[in-house]
Amino acid sequence: MTTHPLPVRASRGRALALSAGVLATALALSACGARAGAEAGAPSSSGGESCVDTSGDTIKIGFLNSLSGTMAISEQTVRDSLDLAAEEINAAGGVLGKQLEVVGEDGASEPTVFAEKAEKLISSDCVAAVFGGWTSSSRKAMLPVFEGHDALLFYPVQYEGLEASPNVFYTGATTNQQIIPGMDYLKEQGKTKVFLVGSDYVFPRTANKIINAYAEANGIEVVGEEYAPLGHTDFSTIVNKLKASGADAVFNTLNGDSNVAFFKEYKNVGLTPEAAPVVSVSVAEEEVGGIGVENVAGQLTAWNYYQTVDSPANAEFVAAFQAKYGADRPTSDPMEAAYTSLYLWKGMVEKAESFDVAAIQEAADGVSFDAPEGTVTVNGDNHHIAKTAYVGEIREDGLIYPVWQSDGPIEPDPFLEGYDWAEGLS
C-alpha cells in the first residue's frame, strides 16, 4: 500500500487499520440505510408494485417445481401437465390474445430454494402468476414472498388446510374434500377401529388431528397413531403395533418411498385389504408401479381425480397427455389439479379482462372449468375450489378405479367451519 519499504509490522498495522476503516464505513452505511428504512415507516414502494409487462403480445407466467432432489419424482409430473396446459392454451390463441411465455424454475426440493425462486420469478422475471409447489413446506416458504409482493400463486396439491391467502389459489383438495370423505367411506363400510400411520411432518399430523376429532364424533376408535421420519425404510415395528392393535382399517398419510416399505411389510405379515383396508391419501397412479401392484392391489385411496374417471374432458386430457409424453405415463390427481389451475387462471383473467392481481382476485369467485375430474368452481372467499371427492381401489392393472364418489362437488372448507366436531381444531 505504500511505495517505499516498510518494516513488516508497520505495514500490517496499516492494512489492518485500512480494512477496519473500510469496515466501519460499511457499518456506518448500513446504519444509514436502516434509519432511512425506519423513517420511511410504511413498506416502501417497490414492495407492492407489480412489474408485469402486459404491453406485448406475450405474457410471462412462472412454473416452479422441483426438478432435482427428493421431490423431483412427483413434481416433474406436475411440470409436465403444466407444460401441456400452456401448450394447449397457446395453440387455442392464448389468454386475452397473448401467448403464454413460460419461465421454468427448479425448486430443488428445498423450501429455501422455493422462496428464492419465487422471489426471482416475481421481481426479476415479472411473471403474471406462478404455478407450482408441492410440499406444505414449499408452499409455506413461498407464502410470505407472494403476500409481500402481492403476486399470485396457484398451488396444485391436496394439503392440510387451515390456510387461505388472498395471494394463493388452492386447486388441490383441502381436508374436507379428501380426508373427511375418506373417513366417511370407512364409516359407511362399518369400520370402527382405525389405525393412523403417517410421515412425520405437517400434513399427516394435521390430517390425523382432524381424523381423531372425526372419529370421536362418529363412534370410531383410533387404535393407534404412528409417525415415521420422512424416508423411513423399516416398518416392522410400526406394522407390529398396527397388527397388535386389532385395527379394521388403516388411514395412511405416509409420503414417498416410505409407502413402499410400509405396504411390503403390511402384506408380508399377512394383513390384507379384505380384513383391514388401507386408505392412502398420498399414493397416486404413478406411485403404484414403484410400490408394486402385487403389494397394493385391493387397497384404497382418496383423491379427487383418477385416470379412470369417466368423462369426455378426462378422455381428452389423458389422450393429450399420453400423446405428448408416452402411452405408459399415467395421469394423477396433482397433475390434473395443476392442469386445471392454468385453465382456471385463464378463466379468471378473461373474466377480469386484466392480468392485474387485484382484478383477478375480484373476478375469481364463481369461475369454473370443465376439468378432467368434473366441473370445478372457484370459491372467491377462500380461494379453494369446489371438487368432487372419490375413493378408489387399486386394481391389478396399476390403475385406480372409483368405488365411491361424493354427491357432486364439495364446497371447500379449509378451516372446517361447517363441521361441529371440528370446533377447536384450529
Binding site: 424416508g231 415395528t237 403395533k241 397388535a244 418411498d257 413402499v260
Partner: protein, 294 residues
C-alpha cells in the same frame, strides 16, 4: 409383554438388514480404512440389478436367486472400478476419500435417475417368500427370515474366506501391518483391490435383499449409508465380530426405542446412545489393538 418377542424379532431383523448394509463396509472401512460414501449406491446398483434380472427372467424365484450372485458381481465390479480409478490414489488421505466418494455417489444416483427414471421400480418377491410363517406364536414374514438367513450366511461365508483362504490371510496380514505384509511378499495392491471387490460385492447383495423390503429408487442407498457407518464405528474396526454385535445391538435398540417412543425420536436417541457409548469405548465393541490405532 406380548410385544416383547415380536419386537425382539423386529430388532433382530432390523439388525440383519443393518448388518448386510454394513458388512461390506466392515471390510472396506473397517479393514482398509476407506470411507466409501458410495457404498449405498453399490447397494442401489444391486437393487437395480435385481430389477433388470426380473425383467429378463419373469419368474420371481429364479430371478432372485440369479440376482444374488449377479448383484455381488455388479457391486463388486463397481467397487473395483472405483478402487482402481480413484481410491488407490488416496490411501493416505482417508478423509478426502469420503468427499470423493460422496461425489461418486451423487453421480451414480443421477445416472440411475437418467437410466431407470426417477420413479421407484418394483421387484416382485417370489411366492415362497410372501406371507408369514407362524413361529413362537408370532407371524414372522418370510422375507425377514430370508434376509436374516442371508445375513448369517454372508457373515459365515466372509469369516470363512478371511480365516481359511489365502486371500483372507493376505487381507488380514495387510490390515494388521501393511509394510510387513509388503515385505513378506504380499501384494498389497492386489489385496486392496480384492478386498474392495468383496466388500462392494456384499453391498450389491444387500441391495438385492433390500428389494424384498423397501423401495427401489435412485436414493435407496442414502437411507442406509449413515447407519451402516455407525454400525462399523460402534462395532470397532478390524473384526467382523464387532460389526455383527453392533448391528444386532443397534437394531434391537432402535426397534425398542421405536416401540416405546416414536420412530423419529428413536433415531435421535440412538445417536445419543452411540455418542455415549463411544465415550466408554472409543475403539468400538471389539477391536484389535494395534499401535497404529493410537
Amino acid at each position: 409383554m406380548d410385544a416383547l418377542l415380536p419386537q425382539l424379532f423386529a430388532g433382530l431383523s432390523l439388525g440383519s438388514v443393518l448388518l448386510l448394509a454394513a458388512l461390506g463396509l466392515a471390510l472396506t472401512f473397517g479393514q482398509m480404512g476407506v470411507i466409501n460414501m458410495a457404498h449405498g449406491e453399490f447397494m442401489m446398483a444391486g437393487a437395480y440389478t435385481a430389477f433388470v434380472v426380473q425383467q429378463l427372467l419373469p419368474d420371481a424365484g429364479v430371478s432372485l436367486l440369479v440376482s444374488l450372485p449377479l448383484g455381488f458381481l455388479v457391486g463388486g465390479l463397481l467397487g473395483l472400478l472405483l478402487e482402481v480409478t480413484l481410491i488407490s490414489r488416496m490411501y493416505r488421505r482417508p478423509l478426502d476419500t469420503l468427499l470423493v466418494t460422496f461425489g461418486v455417489s451423487l453421480v451414480l444416483q443421477q445416472a440411475a435417475r437418467d437410466v431407470f427414471g426417477a420413479p421407484n421400480v418394483d421387484v416382485r418377491a417370489p411366492a415362497w417368500l410372501s406371507g408369514a410363517v407362524p413361529l413362537l406364536g408370532m407371524d414372522v414374514p418370510r422375507t425377514r427370515l430370508f434376509i436374516l438367513a442371508l445375513a448369517v450366511a454372508a457373515v459365515l461365508a466372509l469369516s470363512m474366506v478371511l480365516k481359511v483362504t489365502p486371500l483372507g490371510r493376505r487381507i488380514r496380514a495387510t490390515v494388521q501391518n501393511r509394510d510387513l505384509a509388503e515385505t513378506s511378499g504380499v501384494s498389497t495392491r492386489a489385496t486392496d483391490r480384492l478386498t474392495f471387490f468383496v466388500g462392494s460385492g456384499i453391498a450389491g447383495v444387500a441391495g438385492v435383499a433390500l428389494t424384498l423390503l423397501g423401495s427401489i429408487g435412485p436414493t435407496l442407498g442414502t437411507a442406509y449409508v449413515v447407519d451402516a457407518f455407525l454400525v462399523v464405528v460402534v462395532g470397532g474396526i478390524g473384526q467382523l465380530k464387532g460389526a455383527v454385535l453392533a448391528a444386532v445391538g443397534l437394531g434391537i435398540l432402535q426397534a425398542g426405542f421405536e416401540y416405546s417412543t416414536t420412530a423419529s425420536l428413536a433415531k435421535v436417541l440412538l445417536f445419543v446412545v452411540i455418542v455415549a457409548f463411544l465415550q466408554l469405548r472409543p475403539q468400538g465393541l471389539v477391536s484389535v489393538r494395534t499401535r497404529s490405532l493410537a
